[in-house]
Symmetry: C2
Subunit: 229 residues, 2 copies
């Protein structure tokens, strides 16, 4: 169950990449926000707390949306069931589009990004995280130790875009691997201007608290992207 | 000796990434071109052959520049000795800035890119290749075979920007490793707009002719970038 994971139970502060992602998000006052893959609505509620005018949260899981609605009070957030591969959005309706760890499930990313671009108002911003392509690329996703003691990430298949089966809490989950060029060219092709990129490695403080996060600097887990429309 | 390498002896057609890089280069007619790290001048002469108005080629090696001058006739190309870390360029003097496999030697890339940006005329374009960060990252740069038979690239230290010592024709060469985010954020910070990216893997034709190029798709060697000023 995804709900067993701390980030779902405890919200944004349980997401190790949040301290890096938050500074990429613009001032929220009066923004109309779209949250793609909103899950339990942690970001949606945070956005309203930061002064956003409204949030539309979209997720494919009715079960997660039901829980999101339980956790939410007020009228400023609408949760809607939807598939990111089949979005139906109003034109120029949003000032900020946010997405946390959902784009690597999207099959037709260029198509989705064109939809998102059309749904953004002039001056709008897209901020998203996804699994880093270095994480999704390999034929077997796990650290290895070589004979000489080096702990390495066994990279292969990096340029071979396509689905990857990964084990997730005893179930198999399909993620879409896209190399960096495929991803960034899809953004550019949809009309976005790249404004900034982060490849998430743990902060010094995080490594001090959790030493095994040090290997994130050998191979980052998350990619954080900011783009203008 | 670098001159022993086919790409230096035989020019652009001996560079396996050239078929991918060439389509990223704009129409050359009447362009004022700057070639950073011009070596023997293969690109400079090609540019003039394509109708460029002039080329300024800069390289740190007087020996390579002497050979470049021997290979060149006509007045349209100027070769000048210079360090990419200490450029002194005219403002708005160039329509196209090109660089092949030189930026990974530059120590202060943000500083160099600001210089280059100021040297470009409105509507100008920057097109460059460099070693891919996945190539330069590891503590030991060589393919490994795991116990189960997987041939992998032993990735570590990806986020640790800084110098890397690599062996090159029996000499040790220092290259500057920069992760993708560092590189692209330096471009954005200097005022460029990213226009396209390629992570070079061999074409089907190249792999048919040289089967050992197939592993380029597991870990690309070259990064090709196009940006507008």
């Amino acid at each position: 169950e995804y709900a067993r994971k701390p980030r779902s139970e405890q919200g944004l502060d349980a997401a190790p990449e949040w301290p890096a992602l938050r500074p990429m998000i613009p001032e929220m006052a009066n923004l109309r926000v779209l949250d793609l893959g909103c899950g339990y609505g942690w970001f949606a509620r945070w956005a309203i707390g930061q002064g956003a005018q409204s949030v539309l949260g979209i997720d494919i899981s009715e079960r997660m949306l039901a829980r999101a609605r339980e956790l939410t009070s007020g009228e400023d957030i609408e949760y809607r069931q939807g598939d990111l591969d089949a979005l139906d959005l109003p034109v120029a309706g949003f000032d900020l589009v946010f997405s946390s760890l959902a784009f690597h499930y999207v099959e037709d990313l260029p198509g989705m990004l064109r939809q998102v671009h059309a749904a953004m108002a002039p001056g709008g911003m897209l901020v998203f995280s996804q699994e880093h392509p270095l994480r999704t690329a390999p034929s077997r996703q796990g650290w290895e130790t070589l004979a000489d003691g080096r702990r390495i990430w066994p990279l292969d298949r990096y340029l071979l875009d396509g689905p990857r089966n990964t084990e997730w809490l005893e179930a198999s989950v399909v993620k879409q691997h896209r190399c960096m060029a495929t991803l960034l060219n899809a953004l550019i092709g949809a009309g976005f201007t790249l404004a900034g990129l982060q490849e998430w490695g743990a902060s010094d403080e995080q490594i001090a608290a959790q030493p095994n996060l040090a290997k994130e600097r050998d191979r980052p887990t998350f990619l954080l992207v900011k783009a203008r429309n």
